[in-house]
């Protein structure tokens, strides 16, 4: 299009001989310049009505596909038909009743009798508590002392003068 534009405006440009940003760097022969312009210029005007009709067609198709809910009138159902439908739907729903979903429980409640037995049982051993407490303390201390042990120099000097 840029090429076409420059070609079309070439004649009307008053500063024809003055080099500007639209001036061709290479001289294009007249014949070559002429060849694309007629097809471009000829095809442009008849295309317009086509585009218009195509746009109209798209608009029409879209309008037919859209359901305007607001414009629709209120949907009324007679009492008889309503009760009949209720009966039919309930009958269908009853026949196609799904089995009740199995409840997923990761942690189930302990029955009260069993929970009493557990709670009355011996408490956790103090030695166990000491074991885990000391272990975690020692581990935390050991982890806080984690250091990178380098066996070679971390910075290697290059022989830069």
């Amino acid at each position: 299009m840029g090429c076409c534009y420059s070609i079309c405006h070439n004649d009307s440009d008053p500063q024809d001989n003055v080099p500007n940003e639209r001036t061709h760097l290479l001289e294009v022969p007249e014949q070559q310049q002429e060849t694309p312009s007629p097809t471009m210029c000829a095809s442009t005007p008849p295309r317009k009505p086509d585009e218009q009709s195509a746009l109209n067609r798209i608009l029409h198709e879209t309008a037919t596909n859209v359901i305007d809910v607001g414009a629709l009138g209120p949907y009324s159902l007679e009492a008889n038909a309503y009760s009949e439908r209720v009966r039919a739907y309930t009958a269908r729903a009853a026949s196609a009743a799904l089995p009740p979903p199995i409840p997923v429980k990761l942690l189930a409640d302990v029955p009260p009798t069993l929970s009493k037995v557990i709670l009355n049982g011996p408490p956790p051993d103090c030695a166990d508590k000491e074991l885990i407490t000391n272990a975690v303390k020692k581990a935390a201390a050991a982890i806080s002392e984690l250091r990178v042990e380098h066996h070679e120099d971390l910075v290697v000097p290059f022989r830069v003068p």
Binding site: P124, D128, K129, L131, I132, T133, A135, V136, K137, K138, A139, A140, A141, A142, I143, E145, L146, R147, V148, E149
Partner: protein, 90 residues
């Protein structure tokens, strides 16, 4: 680098009836694991201790005992480190 931590783990494993031992950081990254303790359980261990800490946030982190008929698991948090010890019951 982690010689100290390895030493602590070895020491714990020498304790009678202990079958496994694991340590993880606050994000659930396993720092050390030995015996029956699996590396993958580090995240779960940390999550359990975090939930238990929410019970009484002002107090020290609680010690958690998970028991089955013949085994038990002890979980405790200290700072950012969470430790777990697996052992046989009496």
């Amino acid at each position: 680098m982690e010689k100290e931590l390895d030493k602590v783990v070895e020491e714990i494993m020498l304790t009678p009836k202990v079958t496994g031992c694991i340590f993880a950081d606050h994000q659930g990254l396993c720092l050390a694991a030995k015996g029956t303790a699996h590396v993958d359980s580090a995240g779960i261990l940390v999550a359990i201790s975090e939930q238990a800490c929410k019970l009484q946030p002002n107090l020290k982190p609680p010690t958690i005992y998970l028991e089955s008929d013949d085994k038990m698991c002890l979980i405790q948090r200290h700072g950012t480190i969470t430790g777990g010890i697996f052992k046989h019951k009496e």
